[in-house]
């Protein structure tokens, strides 16, 4: 794999002195899907905006396929498509005209066949002659995606592509992203929906308060941190945890009824029956059992909380 986007020591202090991004370095591999996760105000949009030329960096530099984003802005930007977070569209233009305009803006010769395919893929074909102001919000977002793809970018930035989008469209979007990846496009997306990152990303970066806290392969991250937790609700209250259960590493909740135990999924066979046997041996009655796998969300919340 080779690096297609190289970010080095990039930082941003806005006018007024607020530092939205502390010096940050990151390499994006050709053809990967990289998910940037972070709470509101973490600096995700700021980072993307600097790379795409909407915001001036305070320090650092960005290279797109070897081209400096400022000195070689033409070659750098040609390769980038951006779908910003905010819905911003023309009103009186038609869908067809606005998408064709975008292609021209990026210096590409007209290609009606390509634009037709894009609009069909995004279920916008029957709206192609509609004025944009007659479209719904979700359709407008799709228009913005079509605009970003109109010049056949090699790198696509999706800043919260599925915010305010219904379930169907979200599935469509995921399918589109996978198809783009198959055709070799590198995709960088930000999202608040952890399941989205979990579903799609090859690698995940967590950003908080302008600092990149972690960058990991998604699978490794899930393996490393993706534990399972079982919660056994007891029929009656316990004053203290029996030593036998404490030795296993189980914990008793404040209410004296919820017994929680965390285990590695790989060793569940060995652990679970033993735990249940011990509970029975203590003469306790089980009212309910609930198991769940810790999700990226827990990992994320832990990371972000830990930093505060």
């Amino acid at each position: 794999m080779s690096t297609i986007l190289s970010i080095s020591d990039l930082s941003k202090t806005y006018k007024g002195g607020f530092t939205a991004l502390h010096p940050l370095s990151l390499d994006i591999e050709r053809g990967e899907i990289f998910a940037l996760l972070g709470p509101n105000g973490a600096g995700k949009t700021t980072l993307i905006s600097i790379i795409c030329g909407l915001v001036n960096a305070s320090t650092g530099r960005v290279a797109v396929d070897g081209h400096d984003s400022i000195a070689g802005f033409r070659r750098a930007r040609e390769q980038i498509g951006l779908v910003p977070q905010e819905l911003a569209t023309e009103s009186f233009e038609t869908v067809w005209a606005t998408v064709s305009f975008s292609r021209g803006l990026f210096g590409k010769p007209p290609n009606p066949a390509l634009i037709e395919k894009l609009l069909r893929d995004l279920s916008l074909w029957d709206k192609k002659d509609n004025k944009i102001l007659t479209l719904s919000g979700g359709m407008k977002r799709r228009v913005m995606i079509a605009k970003a793809l109109s010049h056949e970018p090699r790198i696509l930035f999706l800043d919260e592509p599925t915010a305010g989008v219904d379930v169907d469209l979200r599935r469509d979007m995921w399918r589109l992203v996978r198809r783009l990846k198959e055709s070799g496009v590198t995709i960088i997306l930000t999202t608040h929906y952890i399941e989205e990152a979990e579903e799609m990303a090859d690698r995940i970066g967590v950003i908080n308060r302008g600092r990149l806290m972690l960058v990991e392969e998604k699978d490794a991250l899930m393996r490393k941190l993706g534990r399972k937790q079982v919660t056994v609700t007891l029929a009656s209250q316990l004053a203290a945890l029996p030593p036998r259960l404490a030795e296993r590493g189980a914990r008793l909740g404040d209410d004296g009824r919820a017994l929680t135990w965390i285990y590695e999924p790989a060793r569940v066979q060995a652990g679970m029956p033993g735990l249940l046997a011990d509970i029975a041996a203590e003469g306790l009655t089980v009212a309910d059992i609930d198991t769940r796998r810790s999700s990226l969300e827990d990992i994320f919340v832990d990371l972000v909380k830990g930093a505060q």
Binding site: L54, R77, I80, L105, F106
Partner: protein, 253 residues
């Protein structure tokens, strides 16, 4: 040079004019026609010739210039302000286009509209008063030069403005008075010496004077001075716009 991008923006801007043909062309033509009725026909009948030119014809270049100034400024300032206001300008900022290309496209479109409008007004005026243009080449030259210069000025205003009030403030507060006092309706030679000297600080005087010379062969100030002043103002606008893009002033955070 990203010529396709220039063409895309230019075409977009011209389409916008076509959509808003009423504001863009019809309104200025009507207001100019009203000026002719009031100043040319009603008042002009009681005025003598100015520098040997009948008053009705004398005011034609000034009226054209006035429309040219206000329309260039409003077209160009709106053209750049609006995409910033609705947030679609992100696309231009993220596209592989240089400042020169962006300016050429927006200012080119605004200036084209103004020149077309100027010619329409000229045709309208010809219906009211007999007209001959002594130096048609220079007339067109001044028309284009003024349209480009004030479209640049408008472009800078469109970047500077961060609300609609400011967008209208400059044209109303500065440009209209300067145009009125720039000799649209009189020769500055008709003024007392003191006010004549004051007028020489008004850049519009040079535009109107030069333009009028191309019609009638007479002018208030030397034609070369007119030309140099216009070019100087244009250079100043270019410098300001260059600085705005270099620093990202109100375009980039």
């Amino acid at each position: 040079m990203n010529l396709r991008a220039i063409a895309a923006i230019y075409r977009y801007e011209m389409d916008r004019t076509r959509r808003t043909i009423l504001q863009s062309v019809v309104a200025p033509v009507i207001s100019t026609a009203l000026y002719f009725v009031v100043f040319g026909a009603a008042i002009g009948g009681h005025m003598g010739a100015v520098n040997g030119v009948p008053y009705g014809a004398f005011i034609v270049p000034g009226l054209m210039m006035m429309s040219l100034l206000t329309q260039s400024i409003s077209n160009a300032s709106f053209g750049i302000y609006f995409p910033r206001f609705v947030g679609t300008f992100y696309e231009q900022l993220s596209a592989p286009i240089s400042v020169v290309e962006i300016v050429a496209a927006y200012v080119g479109a605004a200036a084209t509209k103004s020149v077309i409008l100027g010619l329409i007004i000229l045709a309208t005026a010809a219906l009211f008063t007999p007209l001959t243009v002594q130096h048609p080449f220079w007339m067109l030259g001044f028309l284009v030069l003024t349209a480009v210069t004030f479209s640049l000025f408008g472009f800078a205003i469109g970047i500077w403005a961060d609300n609609f009030e400011k967008l209208q403030l400059m044209p109303m507060l500065v440009v209209t008075p300067l145009a009125f006092l720039g000799g649209s309706f009189y020769s500055i030679d008709m003024l007392p010496p003191f006010w004549r000297s004051v007028s020489l600080f008004n850049p519009v005087v040079y535009l109107i004077s030069g333009f009028r010379w191309s019609f009638f062969g007479t002018s208030d100030v030397n034609i070369v001075v007119s030309l140099l002043m216009t070019l100087g103002f244009m250079a100043a606008c270019l410098a300001v716009i260059g600085w705005m893009f270099r620093t990202g002033y109100r375009l980039k955070a």
